[in-house]
């Protein structure tokens, strides 16, 4: 423990040194402020408007910057870092195209309530508004997709702005905050004094719930014969997994976790019903439809969960626990609204809740349904099935890996067949559904958790949207295991075209994709391929044991579909169960 103490001491010394008031440039203020906020890793890409900022990084041993190969890679990496660590993710880009390349990543983080501080350079203040070279109104462009944004006008405001931005990003309902810094501001000098206090008049999130509402919840549980918990990303984001486990154990109420809620409750437990919604389990969906009490804990009744709203949970009294009052009643009328931080709410509720004693028959029915309707697929001995590949990954990592995904069929199979036991182990773009997110987010997740196995599951389509970041895995030896489930087609689009557009397959063929093994090797990353079970087991084991990054391509059949499926516009009890039944 001597080394740890030494590390701690040197960190304290660093903080003390950084906190010394001194006349320095805006760029140095930025770097110091980030370090004082506890930022240990920043993803970015330089350019004209951020030259002073990158100049300040030059020869600065305390500041850890990862040069990505595209700004989109930088922000997805920062996002993955934030989701896997619970800390604020930070990225830096230059003005104009650098800033606009971040837009998809900002929207991704906004939709999934991920805390990011996004730094952009802008042209010199006096040129703003003149259509200057590489000028873009990035605060204007991102207004609908940021929690808040700043255009810094005076270097004197910079340190307080950064401190406020971190506070806003990581409290209340979390989200991305953008700080746009004109070039002259990053060059200008002023006396730097660290800011430690924050007081924002228009921002005061409600953390502690109303006691009367909690009493109503307790009473509703007592009276319910068919109670169900629907837990979402809010559980993970507020760090409430232990409180949730206690709540479920005390009340003995069955629980379903949304896509972003996976890992918020241990999937091995009997009361867990899997994921609800469009590709959710039969039992989760039917239980929602039959429940007389639905307790939503930190989920936002997204349309992929509710299906047709007017027919959603028709018999249930709705309880909704959320940090964001605007979510309550937005989509589903709520009987018992509880505004507050999920961890605080459940902590208080756990002191007074009792077991749902009238629900024994319901529990028994649910267990029967669970046994009768697990996720299932028709396995094959001749070809690889994508579901089998996810099962292989799950077994070989004992369910303890951090898994990131891209968007599409492989994402749903990963959600269905990888059984998570711990929070912050699952990184996926749920709200925006951003292709190109899976691989770079794994880089961030691995940077935040150097000692954990990080597996990034991608399709052959999404992988090609950010494949260039293989370079940073190679040079920084970031040992992400990149899985490509290659069905040579845009699978989810293919599935909808088959089922909804009567087999009119339009522009989904990904012929012309690179040889992914060679692509990996071109970047200096180990590449593997398998198209049968025996090879799959062997190469996957080799990839897992390889100390550095690896790309493993699993060649699977083209026309596998994700089931169950609820067609858009249907209620969630109208499930297409698929090939297997």
């Amino acid at each position: 423990m001597v080394t740890q103490d030494a590390q701690l001491k040197s960190k304290e010394e660093l903080m003390e040194r950084l906190s010394m008031p001194e006349v320095i440039s805006g760029s140095e203020i930025l770097l110091r402020s980030l370090l004082l906020e506890g930022v240990d890793c920043v993803f970015g890409y330089p350019g004209g408007a951020v030259l002073y900022i990158y100049d300040a990084m030059h020869g600065n041993p305390d500041f850890n910057h990862v040069l990505t190969r595209h700004e989109q890679g930088a922000i997805h990496a920062a996002d993955g870092y934030a989701r896997a660590s619970g800390k604020v993710g930070v990225c830096i880009a230059t003005s104009g195209p650098g800033a606009t390349n971040l837009v998809t990543g900002i929207a991704t983080a906004y939709m999934d309530s991920v805390p990011l501080v996004v730094i952009t350079g802008n042209v010199i203040s006096s040129l703003i508004g003149s259509d200057a070279f590489q000028e873009a109104d990035i605060t204007g462009i991102t207004m609908p997709i940021t929690k808040h944004s700043y255009l810094v006008r005076n270097v004197e405001d910079l340190s307080s702005t950064i401190h406020e931005a971190f506070h806003i990003a990581n409290t209340g309902r979390k989200g991305p905050v953008l700080i746009d810094i004109p070039k002259d501001i990053s060059a200008a000098k002023t006396l730097f004094k660290p800011v430690t206090e924050v007081s924002i008049r228009g921002y005061n999130p409600t953390v502690t719930p109303n006691k009367l509402q909690l009493d109503k919840l307790v009473k509703a549980i007592e009276e319910s014969t068919r109670p169900l918990i629907l837990a979402g990303g809010g559980v993970v984001y507020s760090g409430a997994h232990e409180e949730l486990l206690e709540f479920v154990t005390k009340t003995d109420i069955p629980i379903t976790t949304t896509l972003l809620g996976l890992g918020g409750y241990p999937s091995g437990n009997d009361l867990w019903l899997g994921m609800p919604g469009m590709h959710g389990t039969y039992t989760a969906n039917m239980s929602i439809q039959n429940a007389d009490l639905l307790i939503n804990i930190g989920a936002r009744f997204d349309d992929r969960v509710t299906g047709k709203l007017s027919g959603f949970a028709p018999k249930a009294k709705i309880v909704h626990i959320d940090i964001d009052p605007a979510e309550i009643g937005k989509n589903v009328p709520t009987d018992i609204p509880i505004v507050g931080d999920v961890k605080t709410v459940l902590g208080l509720a756990n002191k007074i809740v009792k077991r749902a004693d009238k629900a024994d028959a319901w529990r028994a029915d649910i267990q029967k349904s669970k046994a009768a309707h697990p996720f299932r697929y028709i396995d094959s001995e001749d070809e690889l099935k994508p579901q089998w590949v996810v099962e292989l990954i799950h077994e070989t990592t004992s369910g303890d890996a951090i898994v990131t995904t891209d968007v599409g069929q492989h994402q749903m199979w990963a959600a269905q067949y990888y059984k998570f036991n711990k929070p912050r182990s699952w990184v996926t773009s749920g709200g925006l559904g951003t292709m190109g997110f899976g691989f770079p987010s794994a880089i961030g997740a691995q940077m935040a958790n150097p000692d954990r196995t990080v597996v990034s599951i991608n399709g052959d389509g999404g992988m090609q949207m950010c494949a260039q970041e293989l370079a940073i895995c190679a040079i920084n030896n970031i040992p992400v295991k990149v899985v490509i489930i290659n069905n040579q087609v845009l699978g989810m689009v293919r599935q909808w075209q088959e089922l909804i557009h009567e087999n009119r397959f339009s522009h989904i063929d990904l012929a012309g994709s690179p040889d992914f093994v060679k692509l990996a090797e071109a970047y200096g990353v180990k590449g593997f391929r398998a198209s049968n079970k025996e090879d799959a087991k062997a190469v996957w084991e080799e990839a897992l044991n390889h100390p550095g990054p690896a790309v493993v391509e699993f060649v699977v059949r083209r026309d596998e579909n994700v089931y169950p499926m609820v067609a858009q516009g249907s209620t969630i009890d109208q499930m297409i169960m698929g090939d297997s039944e």
């Binding site: 204007g140 609908p144 806003i168 008049r201 228009g202 921002y203 009052p325 605007a326 009643g329």
Partner: protein, 161 residues
């Protein structure tokens, strides 16, 4: 669909009008009129927005507005007795022969003529929206050349709440 008049107290910051109006736009909330000016407190502006929608929409509008960091307070003025006024400037065609008749209308409405041109008059009228609508209707037959309305500004009455 009900008409609501809400006051939004905001930080007097660049871009704050864009944040508020952008929110209405992207969430599909309607803006019938919007006025912005300084408030009783330095550093804060008062916006008064007239919007239409059912109670659910009003609730969502209010909650979404509160999520903007620069929004300090949202008040549903029309939930309580209020004074709501707007001002209109109406440039009406007025040949000398028609002027006495127009001045009659102006007097009745306690409006004022604030400019006299060779062929036109500018009438200034202050009142609630209905009064201004009525004034505009009465002046139409003479030929309205230009019309400019401020939109509603409003306060709750002193004895309400």
């Amino acid at each position: 669909m009900k008409k609501h008049t809400i006051a939004v107290i905001v930080n007097d910051q660049p871009g704050v009008l864009q944040r508020v109006s952008g929110l209405f736009g992207r969430r599909g909330f309607n803006i019938e009129s919007i006025t912005v000016g300084t408030s009783e407190e330095a550093g804060l502006s008062r916006m008064v927005i007239v919007t239409t929608g059912d109670d659910h929409t009003l609730e969502q509008t209010t909650k979404q507005l509160y999520k903007l960091i620069d929004v300090i307070k949202v008040i549903d003025l029309s939930a309580n007795p209020m004074v709501a006024r707007e001002l209109a400037l109406i440039k009406v065609a007025a040949e000398p022969s028609a002027r006495p008749e127009i001045l009659g209308v102006v007097d009745t409405f306690r409006a004022a003529v604030v400019d006299i041109g060779t062929h036109t008059l500018i009438v200034q009228v202050v009142g609630d929206t209905e009064k201004i609508d009525a004034m505009v209707e009465l002046l139409k037959p003479y030929g309205i050349r230009e019309l400019s309305r401020t939109g509603v500004t409003a306060l709750n009455r002193g004895n309400s709440k």
